[in-house]
Amino acid sequence: MFGMPDLSPEDRAVVDFAYRETHLLNADRFAEWITLLTDDFEYRVPHPELRDDPRSSPYSATSLLSWESVHSLRVRFDRLASEFAWADRPPAFHRRHLTAVRVERRDDASWSVACDELVARSRTPEPPQLVSALREDLVRLVDGELRLARRTVFLDVDRPDLAQIALLF
């Protein structure tokens, strides 16, 4: 739904939640971001796959470029805080830009959230990267608080460079 002025207060809160948690990722405030996840949170990046038929999905039904859980993300963030995060020293410049955030209420306690996302990353020697993606989330109310339960990232890149998928979207 694009009619932002018509959003209900509950839907508006979900949009605000999307911007807030994305800001935490931009600010590298991972310890705060991870508290916004449900225990069963899953992060998936389906593998882009070019097919001749334009009616076919351009994403693999089985293969993934990334599959994370709360447990694996906690390990990733612990590594980032350690002395041995070689691939992240020095850290890259990065920013996520969200546009066209759409929310759709599924039931009393969950929403589907979709947005278009542009992720910028730069660090020599990799060339500066701009990656566009469709980000689809499932947001749930848990004990009265909004929590991120699932994130699926559909890249607009058919064969990504590692530098383009190094960041969480």
């Binding site: 001749d52 089985t62 293969s63 470029l65 859980s69 694996s72 390990v75 350690s82 020697p125």
Partner: protein, 451 residues
């Protein structure tokens, strides 16, 4: 030099640059007796072109798993060196590997990554080829080419292909030995994890593919047997408890094979019974029955097996007690990883999880998750390796560096602390922290490059 390395009946790594002084002036790393490889081989365009000509045009190259193209008409498009190829299953069920280029004017025939087609039609002048490579259609051919036009002379160039436990390999070299002979004694070890089930293998999640900055040989070098980098490059993985059985008390070997293949294996020290960590215990009798007694000795208590099929296919097998996430079942991950040099500084990679075909979906999912987290495109284990490869490229393009400072491979040239615990083929060296396998890989590489 170890007893094994000095055995005159076994293949030995040659000395590479040992007898070739790098320059007249003393140069760091270029010391007499050193196994050193000039850095230009890791960054130079001329060297990359010679690799394609001297190595990739003549080797058996891995392309796909048979289960990616199960039905007639299924295809995937891949690379053999710098050549675009179609790997398809014809209407008769045969696997074909063909150049992906119209024989008229040469346009790329099939532009998709995957699909199903009985024919491939060129988008330029409409020449049409069956999925076995035969030319079947030429618009207005009798009118414009005449009645004597011989379609059979214009079929797609087809490579020799063969399948080993579901793995499809191909070569354009008519003089190369058969695939089974090319793999040689390495097959004994690959079958320890590819041959555990009578149902064969599959790649249940297909392939995933990405590009990265870096020279392809650094992947081969790393997977060929680099036990030295683990506790440093992947220190975070050990500190955070993610290395599973590899973090325990282990003993290991490095093994070299004809044609440049290598393997490094570790097991839990002192294993005395037939145990297969990661595999469902109710399948252990089947594993034991299918492997030879020598293979059981080698594979029992395995904590990791990895290596390369020369030149550009890596494999790694790691069991994981309890899977990756809490509550996940035990799993044994087998990843095959292909690195194609699209330039001296850029590599196209494909990765497959390969599992016993009839194991439970939950077991396969746990193995896939383990692969994603340890050796996936965004896994930090891989990220830290790729960071090193990227940074090596960054310096190896420097003129003074490229020409004067070699890469060094002298580690553990006279060090073999273990008596191998099994009697297996190949040149088995009783150490798991050594550069003996890298010396073997680069010796083969330099032999072919300098022929």
């Amino acid at each position: 030099m170890t007893a094994a390395e000095s055995d005159p009946d076994r293949p030995r790594a040659r000395t590479g640059e040992r007898d070739r002084p790098m320059s007249d002036a003393p140069t760091p790393g270029a010391v007499p007796g050193s196994f050193a490889v000039p850095r230009r081989y890791f960054a130079g365009k001329a060297e990359w072109e010679r690799e394609i000509e001297s190595i990739f045009r003549h080797s058996w190259l891995f392309l796909a798993h048979e289960s990616e193209i199960p039905e007639p008409g299924d295809y995937v498009t891949r690379l053999m060196g710098t050549d675009q190829v179609i790997v398809s299953r014809s209407e008769s069920g045969q696997v074909q590997v063909m150049l992906n280029s119209c024989t008229h004017r040469g346009t790329l025939l099939c532009k998709a990554d995957v699909g199903n087609a009985s024919h491939f039609r060129c988008g330029y002048h409409g020449w049409t080829f069956a999925n076995d490579g035969k030319l079947t259609g030429v618009p207005r051919h009798r009118e414009l080419y005449g009645r004597d036009f011989d379609k059979a002379a214009f079929g797609l160039r087809t490579a020799r292909s063969d399948i080993f436990h579901g793995l499809i390999f191909a070569t354009f070299d008519a003089d190369q030995v058969e695939l089974r002979e090319y793999l040689g004694d390495l097959a004994f070890y690959l079958e320890c994890f590819l041959g555990v089930s009578a149902a064969g293998t599959d790649a249940p999640y297909g392939a995933f593919r990405f590009n990265h900055q870096g020279n392809w040989k650094l992947e081969a070098d790393n997977f060929s047997g680099d036990g030295y980098h683990l506790r440093h490059a992947h220190r975070a993985g050990f500190d955070l408890g993610l290395m599973g059985t590899q973090a325990g008390t282990t003993e290991g070997v490095c093994i070299q094979f004809e044609h440049g293949h290598t393997l490094r294996a570790q097991r839990t020290a002192g294993t005395s019974e037939a145990v297969f960590p990661g595999y469902p215990e109710d399948r252990w009798p089947e594993i034991q029955a299918r492997l030879s007694p020598d293979q059981v000795d080698m594979f029992s208590g395995s904590t990791v097996v990895h290596g390369i099929v020369f030149p550009n296919l890596a494999f790694i097998h790691t069991p994981r007690a309890g899977g990756f996430d809490p509550g996940d079942p035990d799993a044994a991950m087998v990843q095959f990883r292909l690195f194609n040099p699209v330039g001296p500084d850029h590599t196209d990679e494909l990765c497959w999880l390969v599992t016993p075909a009839d194991y439970a979906p939950e077991w396969k999912e746990s193995a896939f998750k383990t692969m994603q987290r340890q050796h996936g495109a965004t896994a930090f284990f891989e990220s830290d390796d790729m960071e090193n490869f990227r940074r090596m490229l960054q310096v190896n393009t420097g003129a003074e560096t490229r020409d004067r400072i070699p890469a060094n491979f002298d580690l553990a040239h006279d060090h073999a602390p273990y008596e191998p615990w099994f009697d297996g083929p190949g040149n088995v060296v009783g150490t798991d922290i050594s550069e003996v396998n890298q010396r073997w890989f680069y010796a083969r590489y330099l032999d072919l490059m300098e022929d």
